[in-house]
Symmetry: C2
Subunit: 320 residues, 2 copies
């Protein structure tokens, strides 16, 4: 057999695009929102939509045993999925787990993974309702999470308008800093993100709310996804980005640029969302924070042109 192109020839966006195109050939009736958003929405008969999302956590790809406890690997795996529900404004209802592992995996690690998953699940009322175990050379956790939202009301990536104000919950860069510190100085990553479920559900009820996405890949990348859904651009005010306490000092100690981590670091799992200009003008940030139950910071606006402005030397920047 002649050697054809490989997955790496296309890259993930190309592959996802291929999947999307092939999937769209099927009848999509009954599917409110399919491939391409944070989660898919299926419509049951009455008054609510169900939201489902899948995420994988693979050994030596998403985590290393030397850098995190099994417990935290488990928690983090479910956080990534719950965050997708949060970005839809959904309430979690349950999850399934497909766990693959080598027969040589230590039982203590297996137990740790499970305990971490179930701790996070208990915190957010999301019971484990089924699953699958398989043998594999790498350990991996594939989670499918189910949630519900009032019918037709789910937060989505699309629907931005020029002039919309952009906001983020919480602070940015904490996960990247924790990772960098462990890579530089050893030890275990103890930092854990929080899925913003309550904030997402509160946002869902807010008149004048626009689009929403969770920050899994980093602000610039995920903002890029958000903007792409509406074919618009954004002007960021990077002076206003919310940073963790002592962030600049900690970054400088590790010879890292704080802005680089805040803009490019992934796995913060905060929400990035938009409000119509009128709504943003009417509700002060403090009031918005109170309603969403978490600190909310305005970070810029949606513009008509393509691309993101206000970021110094954006291109070289991310590869610092």
């Amino acid at each position: 057999m002649t050697r054809g192109r490989t997955l790496s020839d296309l890259g993930e966006p190309g592959l996802i695009d291929r999947i999307s195109r092939m999937a769209r050939r099927l009848d999509q009736s009954g599917v409110v929102l399919g491939i391409g958003d944070d989660a898919a929405i299926l419509r049951p008969r009455k008054s609510e939509d169900w939201v489902t999302s899948t995420d994988a956590t693979v050994e030596d790809v998403h985590f290393r045993w030397s850098e995190q406890s099994a417990f935290n690997v488990g928690r983090r795996a479910l956080v990534a999925n719950l965050s997708d529900l949060a970005a839809m404004g959904a309430r979690p209802r349950g999850f399934t787990l497909a766990l693959a592992a080598p027969p040589e995996l230590e039982l203590a690690r297996f137990d740790g993974l499970l305990r971490g998953l179930l701790r996070e699940a208990a915190l957010h009322g999301c019971p484990l309702v089924g699953g699958n175990l398989a043998r594999a050379r790498q350990t991996s956790l594939v989670i499918n999470v189910l949630g519900c939202v009032p019918r037709g009301r789910a937060l989505r990536r699309d629907g931005l308008r020029v002039g919309d104000h952009l906001f983020v919950t919480g602070v940015l860069g904490a996960a990247a800093l924790a990772r960098a510190r462990v890579e530089s100085r050893g030890g275990l990553i103890r930092q854990l993100p929080v899925p913003r479920l309550a904030a997402g559900q509160a946002l869902l009820g807010l008149k004048g709310r626009g689009a929403c996405i969770d920050l899994s890949d980093g602000l610039l990348t995920d903002l890029g996804h958000l903007l792409a859904s509406s074919g618009l651009g954004a002007a960021l005010d990077t002076e206003r980005l919310p940073l963790p306490r002592g962030f600049r000092r900690n970054c400088h100690e590790l010879s890292l640029k704080p802005l680089s981590l805040a803009l490019g670091g992934g796995e913060d799992y905060e929400l990035l969302f938009s409000l119509r200009a009128g709504t943003a003008a009417r509700i002060p940030s403090e009031e918005l924070s109170r309603r969403l139950g978490v600190r909310v910071t305005p970070i810029g606006r949606v513009t008509g042109g393509m691309g993101i402005t206000g970021v110094p030397e954006a291109k070289s920047f991310l590869h610092y």
Copy 2:
């Protein structure tokens, strides 16, 4: 770190039991049926339950590239999931795919997998609604499927009664024979199982129906699961097991025992179900076959004692 016990020390049943026990510590309200059946059931607000199930297909574990086309690997992966819905009497509504693969995977194989999945999906009205791509050393497909059933009516593994009659759809051993032939003579496995969705849904509406399970691991193993759910036994009539056309001759050509394949061979994805004695007496097999849209064969009865009788030398038998 001292080396602790490994997953292989417990085996899959032990691990599943551990997961079940840990999961049961969480609040299960809203979950009609959790870990331990073919699928989990979540209860939406009105008139229907949603059914969800997850299954993994791992390279060199569940399939080999040298033995099956990528297209058939994809089809078979979804069949395994749809079969779980069939065993609940559910109607498919959509599935998500978590695909992990090495960067070196040929694009033609990637495409083949997707085409196979989507062909099977189209046949059964089950659109791909989301997913995830990850890098890994082995190719694997983890599928989560969603379906619905009229509220409270799902077929389950439990609920057998002494005297119930046992039935299977279709024929047994076809998948095992196809695999054995390829292992012995080379070539590709072309045989493909059919998920018995229509039969499951028809069974759901039948008064006097009991328990149901799909045959993924082989009749004896899966019957064992079914019986374990009710703490009962069974008397099998192995003379009546439905076999594929020319099965005995084909088995003898490969020096295989037909009964061994029919009882122990997995991946037939037929349904094994029970009817109350009165119902079974009232409805002849031909009529039952007509109602379920597939050949249905009575193969034995549920008994009070533990274990399965009627199988010659059952223990040595499976290791032929």
